[in-house]
Symmetry: D3
Subunit: 249 residues, 6 copies
């Protein structure tokens, strides 16, 4: 359920993620940037990652419900830190099952949020079957939400661009970034959000290093003229549909 | 040689094409858009297409020099119509030979123009070997021009993005557009430029139809909200390097 | 149900399409050619496209059943114009669900028709999930129908070649044509069939232009010796399995 | 030089191969089929394979000229057995150098033979650089020969289809066959031609086994209805350009 | 059910195959090698291949249960010949249905066997939908078994490498081998295991020839220094995940 | 010229790199591992990177010869630190020209070193044309050196495996690692070698971070059982030819 109920927005950002932590590591910068610009940013977590991404809690002997509560609290804190709303569908993980009912719930979210931009997982991930499952449902629901004949409240969706955020082992997931996003101005906020995920401390540095690495590539691809500083931080994305534009730049 | 000598510009457009007509069919809209915005637009023709793309003139019995003159005049007229300068390197076609000397000449042009954006052919074209040869040299020269140690006048080049324009049979050239450019506002000018190429009248309609087709796809990908009208005209491009940006949109 | 019941044929054409209109835009020429040669041509529509491809009817305020009737009538008219039978499975669209039961029904059609050639959608289409779903079921059912142990009436199917017909945005669907079909002689009939689909008038010209475009490519690939005329019209296909032949040509 | 000088033919087969033996192992069946149908079949050997494919002769202590003579004799015998003419350009191997002069010589052959079909190597072969070099030149020369403005005797070439024949390790060369050719009726002749290459006896069985294997696949893809017998022999090819046809089959 | 119940092993080999015969043709050498080294080798057959791969038995008029019994006996004999245990899940074939229940059963097998190496089908096979279905389930179950939170007995699985074994038509299945396994020392045993599959006699020679062919390639890729003899026999595999190593060799 | 002249070795490592620094960042760990095991390790630098990779020196006002000397000294120090010999061909950079003469020199090195393993650049790098040029020559020379008929001293080369080392922006170079090498035990040595390249201080941390990142992936792919510690450091490679082995592991 949605923790907050903002007014519909014309340029909302919708992030659809399989588990409770994914949006922080992979898209925290994009979310914080949108929030700072005053856009609505909404994270939709299909599951809590309670079975597949909570190894420490299981080793500590927690029960399933405790783990879900823990993951929910951490993710809600991280979302608040980034300036985003968050909704949990509690659809179960490992495996996250692709069902018509779950897709239908996602369609309803699309119709309610009317996002201008959508972020989700890659379609390939040989290390984690839930990630592609989430991506397939996110894409299918987007197309269904576009159809006037689909039975759900709200107006038909437009054609919001979709960006895949970065998986843990990008090359093995055929992730060839075609967009590098400058998140320097909000990186401190992303770091704070990462630190909300207390059980995964080893990831804080891993994703800080990754942001530096993508920042170096950002500078390399932007060229020296743009005046990007030495401490540029970046996130990498793959744009799925062609960019539509009035200017080549 | 350059027909005009404009002052250096920070946001120039450089179009590197194998033959005299290519820039019109494939990138005329992008050129006209740049010119209308007041940017410098420069077309660099490596050859006149005198052997490989002048079948009618050969059938009419013209000699090589006459054909070159004819192609030069047509291309210069088309460039002027689009608002662009044009320079011819007269390096010969069919085959266009990749030589260190020709690459060096292209480096000099990069250093002089200091383009903000570069357009050229695709790297694959099983129907025309000169097109990939031009693209390979355009890309190699761009990297050489970036090196402070390369011996040519001018400052080292930044990292201008490169876009491949559309080949005649896109699928056979592995051309999967990731940018659709709205050229509606300048299409009439592109059509006039096409009509400067008198010998290839059958192409006028072919590329008008293509612009319509890419326009339909542009609307489809932009979504209904953007208010693109029914008569949207488009050009398709492939961006080679990752886009660098501060906003996902 | 089949509208007509022809005798089994050794060289029948079977077209499996997700929605009621697909076969017209994408394979109308191939169907008309088969019919003109006296072959049996059968179109199998898995759904009417009642939700996802009937935007105008929904905007006009029609109900679901009215829309299905309308689409059925239009599609039946178009099929008759092309010289084909048509059968509707009414399996629902947006989403078209992949179920064992639906696959089994398609197996029965294969066994009854015993096609010499099969046409269907591409396996990739990021704009429309029903199209790949139809293709996957069409391919799965074909393999099942080949097995003598599969429990359905009729003889085991042979190995009919499968051709993917052209999606709306071919490059985005990784559609690289390896067959160009000359439909010049039947194009007028295809145009008439397209005009049976009254609500999609903007598509008539779009697909006429496409036929011209594929015709130009057909001439280019066939070479000047074949004597194809200036007005050649074409359809593009991707052959899935290797061609088996006694002659290279 | 050409060993025979037949009258121009409208449906000639031209096989362009890097070394003296390649055409036998990889395309012997296609050549014999063409010859049996009464078509002109011409093999163009760019080199004798004197350095890279004559290991036994070197180990036996022969000199360079002896080896060339030996390879020429063997290849000529094999060509005669298949019913083909053969011409040797003696351009050197290991490496086979891509030069404008050699490409020009190949253009002249295209113009003289006016082939209806062209066979050559694949564009990728990490085990043998001469093979892709030959293929690149064969393709470049074909395009040049099509240009009326190219300075060589004869009429401009049409658009003969090109087929890549099978490399020694197909998967490593990204060779995904899309044509399987039935060579059963001429296999005995191909075997005899292979036996002309006395130094490579271990290859006779290797390529006989391969023909069986491709034959099994041919039957599998053709289906049981075609009545191919148990002893079907095949050759595999990749068609480079789209097939142009009036019938899907 | 498992026919034998060996003690858990740290370096077990697990082979997951769709039908009862697959493991023999495609991985018999790897299995025999493991068994000879004293490793536990376990074959998991998801179905008997009773509908899709038992054509002769159906033509002979056997009933479904008889066919299953026959296939079970043959497969058990072949496994015993290779030195492997075998378990049959009897999940049905043609189609092999992907269900959460079946995946869960496979997870239990992973947890019980704790394999050091996993072999299964390729993810692409346009000739047989059951093969990719088995592979998808094998991969999904492997990831689920790694999660401590997944509810099944036993310890979480490590990260055993996965190898795809060779499909019947490798190129059509995008099978590009990156591992060639020397099975010379156990080939006689593989041949005997193949001969347990009495109804598919034509396959015995087909897969013997394939082993020779892969053996020739093995020698070619290993180089002359390794001293592989003329009669080297091989099997080809695709390794899915990166190799982890302390030495490049 | 070679700085040292060791006796021929049966398991030498040969690293062929375009510029003087490449081998340190990209393969320093593999080199140090080989040296520690007592293998001969030889680095062949085709150029000094004097024009394209010495920006600081140019900005400091050094001349071409001074820069070459500087780069040579740095690279020699780094090689010595890693335990490798180094040879400079001084073939010029930006561009590194592919000539028959340079390839021939590389063949001579292959014949002299007789490497058991070869490391070089990737075949794709849109940021640096010299890298693929070096790789193409390294691969071509390897094949030439295998031919007994190639005129160079020494025995014909075997078939040493080739590994591509990691480019600066791996995804843009289509670099999908299939080998992860554990360099933990020699990382301190690699760091010291990096510090020999005084002008590129910002790279020291960049490539230390990369080693950590590849180390994390190494652990992830090796699984928990291997006991890799938290501080595992790695290098990533792409193996070009199939691995040949007697064991799947």
């Amino acid at each position: 359920m949605a923790l907050t109920a903002p007014p519909p927005s014309d340029d909302a950002l919708l992030v659809i993620s399989a588990h409770a932590g994914d949006f922080v590591w992979r898209a925290g910068g994009a979310i914080a940037l949108a929030a700072e610009r005053g856009q609505r940013a909404k994270v939709l977590c299909l599951s809590f990652g309670e079975r597949g991404e909570s190894a420490k809690a299981w080793r500590d002997g927690l029960g399933l419900d405790e783990i879900k509560r823990l993951r929910r609290t951490e993710a809600a804190d991280a979302a608040a830190t980034l300036g985003a709303e968050i909704e949990f569908l509690d659809a179960g993980d490992y495996p996250l099952r692709e069902t018509p009912e779950l897709v239908d719930r996602i369609v309803h979210v699309y119709r309610e949020v009317n996002p201008a931009v959508v972020l989700t997982h890659t379609l390939t991930d040989p290390y984690n079957g839930d990630h592609p499952a989430a991506a397939r449902m996110a894409l299918q629901a987007r197309v269904l939400a576009q159809a006037i004949g689909y039975d759900a409240p709200g107006e038909p969706l437009g054609a919001p661009p979709v960006f895949f955020f970065e998986p843990h082992q990008p090359e093995q997931c055929d992730f060839k970034p075609n967009v590098l996003l400058d998140i320097t101005s909000v990186f401190a906020r992303k770091r704070k959000a990462m630190e909300c995920l207390a059980a995964q401390q080893h990831m804080w540095d891993y994703y800080t290093d990754l942001a530096k690495r993508r920042g170096v590539q950002l500078k390399r691809n932007a060229g020296p003229n743009l005046g990007l500083s030495h401490g540029t931080m970046g996130e990498a994305y793959v744009r799925l549909y062609p960019e539509t534009t009035g200017t080549l730049a």
